[in-house]
């Protein structure tokens, strides 16, 4: 019996993955059929990009600061103080910047998209859209998808920049490490490929967050309970997908952007 339950659960998850892939396909078709409304895109850029500024900047700054402090405390023991920012920079660019930005946006934007679309579904607003000869993907998913894949790389870049800046201040001002040697090592070990990797991940995470959240919202169950469950699932699925895909993206992008 437990085997049957596990098999059914696995089957359900695979079906969901397949349906999210189909949603991506439908969204791509919608884009190439030029169904994107410029006004809707601007509004979503504001909601997804501009309104995520504070959360992403605070996350980036404090991550850079704590990483710099912890790295300094370890490196100081072996007299490698001036290499602190090289570690912070590479970590922020290729891993922490995109992943933490993705996770924060998954929490804020993913929940918002799933709740909004879920509420529209249970109040028949999505059916109303269809009766008004409007494809829900054209009106609801496409602007959020495009806004996410534009906003996430920008937010990632901001988190990286402020994280490295804050880490540099902690290292040079608080820990009193020589600023010139710190900068020298930072520039020596940081290469553009790290930035390309981070921004590519941001783009990919943006696509994943918007698709998963839109799917969960549009397929939510009945009533307030259904909307609540869809919102939770959207955040959990998006966060786990970011963490899992980050590993494979690191391997893949490491080869793609290899020097």
């Amino acid at each position: 019996m437990p085997v049957k339950i596990v098999a059914r659960r696995v089957n359900e998850q695979l079906v969901t993955l397949g349906e999210i892939a189909l949603l991506f396909w439908e969204t791509s078709r919608s884009f190439f059929r030029k169904r994107l409304s410029f006004g809707d895109l601007i509004y979503q850029l504001y909601m997804i990009g501009l309104k995520s500024q504070s959360v992403v900047l605070i996350t980036g700054a404090f991550t850079g600061m704590v990483l710099a402090a912890q790295t300094y405390l370890q490196f100081h023991k072996v007299r490698m103080d001036t290499a602190t920012m090289a570690v912070v920079s590479v970590s922020m660019l290729s891993q922490l910047g995109p992943v933490l930005t993705g996770l924060m946006v998954a929490g804020r934007v993913g929940a918002s998209i799933a709740a909004e679309l879920g509420t529209m579904k249970v109040t028949e607003q999505i059916d109303a859209l269809r009766t008004l000869a409007t494809h829900p993907v054209d009106y609801l998913v496409l602007p959020r998808f495009i806004a996410s894949i534009i906003a996430l790389p920008v937010l990632t870049a901001e988190a990286i920049a402020i994280g490295i800046g804050a880490g540099y201040l902690v290292t040079t001002v608080l820990m009193k490490v020589d600023a010139a040697y710190t900068m020298e090592n930072l520039l020596k070990y940081t290469v553009p490929n790290h930035l390309y990797q981070g921004l590519s991940k941001g783009l990919f995470f943006g696509a994943m967050i918007s698709l998963i959240a839109s799917y969960k919202g549009m397929h939510c169950g009945e009533g307030a309970e259904g909307v609540g469950r869809a919102t939770t699932e959207a955040v959990v699925w998006a966060s786990i997908s970011i963490l899992i895909s980050n590993f494979f993206l690191t391997l893949l992008l490491g080869r793609v952007f290899a020097p």
């Binding site: 009766t131 008004l132 409007t134």
Partner: protein
Amino acid sequence: MIEVKDLRKRFGSQQVLDGISFRIDPGDSVVIIGRSGCGKSVLLKHLIALMKPDSGRVIIDDEDITNLDERQLLQVRQKFGMLFQSAALFDSLNVAENISFVLRREGKLSQKEIDERVEDVLEMVELPGTQRKKPSELSGGMRKRVGLARAIIYKPEIVLYDEPTTGLDPVVSDSIDQLIIRVRERLKITTVVVTHDTRSMRRVGQRILMMVNGKIYAAGPPAEIFASPDPVIHRFVNGISDPKELTF
């Protein structure tokens, strides 16, 4: 013309539609009645392909829409307007934006022309000057009127009404019924109304289809249905419960 042939739909173990067949000619005003949960709204949603049947066909103007995909259906749905039970207005848009939604998406008219169309249709539903209000500021009856205005602004050939008077007081219900008749006569459209409001069905319907257990149980003009000696029909139209169903 709407033609439904042997339509069947099952949810889990419940057979909601069980071999429904009927035809509605252009300009007809048909009321679908039946007790709560008998499948009226499900049937209405099949007419506009918001749901897919397990078997059977829905034919609109000689085109079988049963197996069309969502994008092909967008063309067919341009012939329809639909008023939902909850009105289903878009919360984030004001009244004018809700009503002009389709016109703005099409982009064929100027803003001035759209504003004029919105004004005309708001006058038709007796809500002039409410363009800037949000759906949350409207009463139940006003929401239904705005929903109707949104459904008719692009002059559809067929308008579907899902429980248009449910939850409204008798006076507002009467005004909605009058509105349905006025819209039908002014725009010369086919009207399909799902309701269990007996006063409404008598006023609005030229023909009544009564559903029982997922089947069409009776069909005919209102006078014939209301005068029927059949105990099931008699109890329904007169609002009398079946003593066998009473359990305390």
